[in-house]
Symmetry: C2
Subunit: 317 residues, 2 copies
């Protein structure tokens, strides 16, 4: 058995994973919003221990623990820097070393999106395809490009579908640039916009639901609840996000003509099929070859894709 940790901007998801990607036990915690890398690593270790307890194993007896991390990951050392959705994590931090000490197990760190897209390729919705686009709709919008059966990394930084320009001169993105897809579709950007509207007096239940649930951020569950309640601001911002995703994905499809698109991430998995259909519908308007659209799927491994993919850093192969 292997451990897998998906370090997200909103939550830390851990799992103990058996052969064939089977999740034996899992645990999750909110990602700390203050402090620094040490505090995040401590929460990661706690959540991993909780998973191990659930699976009745010691973390030290796992074959290894894989981590999918945002930011710049040095896969050789397991150091991580520039994780801009995490607190005070600009400088390089020895994540693998710190977790290895805390867990008594070997730890490997990979890019969060790359491990998740790899999991969908090997065990999930991407299995039937030689080429597909993985789109991870969460705090940010990450992407993975599978071509000829393997991930295309370019010079190491490919897949930034969230920063494709879908509206020249448009909204300010959390990355500082303008008009990126993520500036409309990322949950981080959506929350900033919701707070702005709320401060201006626009009526919304979003922040009431947030407080009631004891959260400090607008999680995917809060957005879903607000939609269920017919919250107008939530509907408006989700609709805007869907159209932005559709335009960015269509651009990528026009450029690469892949066989399929797999949509995951916190919001993607939470909203599932009905929203993949909505994205698909809006995407269709922008497809240059509109009689041969790609197949559209929700990420099959759901919320566990990142953790399962991270566990695959200790390969079965």
């Amino acid at each position: 058995m292997r451990g897998g940790i998906d370090l997200g901007g909103t939550k830390i998801q851990t799992a103990v994973v058996g052969d064939g990607g089977k999740v034996v036990a899992d645990a999750r915690r909110p990602t700390p919003t203050s402090g620094g890398p040490e505090d995040v690593a401590a929460q990661m270790a706690e959540a991993m221990r909780e998973s191990a307890e659930g699976a009745n194993v010691e973390t030290g007896s796992l074959e290894g623990v894989g981590v999918g991390s945002p930011g710049d990951v040095d896969e050789k050392t397991g150091d991580v820097s520039g994780a801009r959705n995490l607190p005070e994590w600009e400088e390089s931090f020895p994540l693998a070393e710190t977790l290895s000490k805390a867990l008594g197990a070997e730890v490997r760190v990979g890019n969060d999106v790359q491990v998740a897209v790899n999991a969908e390729k090997k065990l999930g919705a991407g299995r039937p395809y030689d080429s597909f686009l993985g789109v991870f709709w969460g705090t940010g919008v990450g992407g993975g490009v599978i071509l000829d059966g393997k991930e295309w990394l370019g010079r190491g930084a490919a897949g930034e579908i969230g920063h494709m320009v879908i509206k020249l001169g448009g909204a300010r993105c959390t990355c500082g640039r303008r008009g990126c897809m993520e500036a409309y579709a990322g949950r981080g950007a959506m929350e900033i916009e919701a707070r702005k509207e709320h401060d201006k007096g626009t009526k919304t239940e979003l922040f009431k639901i947030m407080r009631k649930k004891g959260h400090v951020r607008l999680t995917s569950g809060i957005w879903e609840r607000a939609l269920d309640d017919g919250d107008r601001l939530a509907e408006k911002l989700i609709d805007r996000a869907v159209k932005a995703l559709a335009a960015g994905i269509a651009s990528a499809v026009n450029l690469l003509d892949v066989e399929a698109v797999v949509i995951g991430g916190g919001l993607g998995v939470r909203f599932g099929d009905p929203y993949v259909k909505k994205i698909s519908k809006h995407m269709h308007k922008h497809l240059f070859v509109d009689d041969n659209p790609p197949a559209m799927h929700v990420a099959e491994l759901g919320d566990f894709g990142g953790a399962i993919g991270a566990s695959l850093l200790f390969g079965e192969n």
Copy 2:
């Protein structure tokens, strides 16, 4: 020696090509704007004959004549359909068969952008790179994606960089969709916009220069001349095109992280280095990894890239 014909929306460029892509003789004519495929094919044959005369050969003694064509090309039969920038060319037309009869030579037809990007890969600015993006800035904006040393075609329709969405809800494209890069940067779309402004009373020399040169379309040379004369409308529309190209190319680079971008096409080659620098400058604002931009080049084979690439359909390999 081989023949090569580049069938563009504005002009037909032919060449007799020797080993190593050397142009022995060439000829060009405007693409007919009325009539149908037969008329276009007749002009192509005439222009090819003129090239052959210049090289002191009979067309019948050429190893073969390659054609780079817009629209849907059936490479096996040499039939072409759906060439929307050409007159009355929706239905399938037997281009290879027609030209073969007229020239007494074997004729092969390939996709115009694919043959041009292949020429830049084998003989031009793309030679040093394993991955690059070819951007052909002309009547439309075509693209070619070279990854791992070969062209990525997806399911056959990859490379439509001109129809990446750069402005959601933006200008109407000649393809009928909204906000495509080509809706701002394609010479076809630019001409429509210039005519609209001219009809509204905006002052411009563009159409005076066109009439003086005896043209019915705003060719690359006319745009260049208007810029040299400080024409405000020409400046405005070219600036808009540059920003659109920059946004679309940046999106593609954020997705694929290629080593280089090669800019060709009628306008790309005509405007050359100073405009590649402008595109580069605006692109930089949108690059997610902005400390590692791709190398930027003008297509090295210039105006002949399409014809040389077409001649390579009769391979040296």
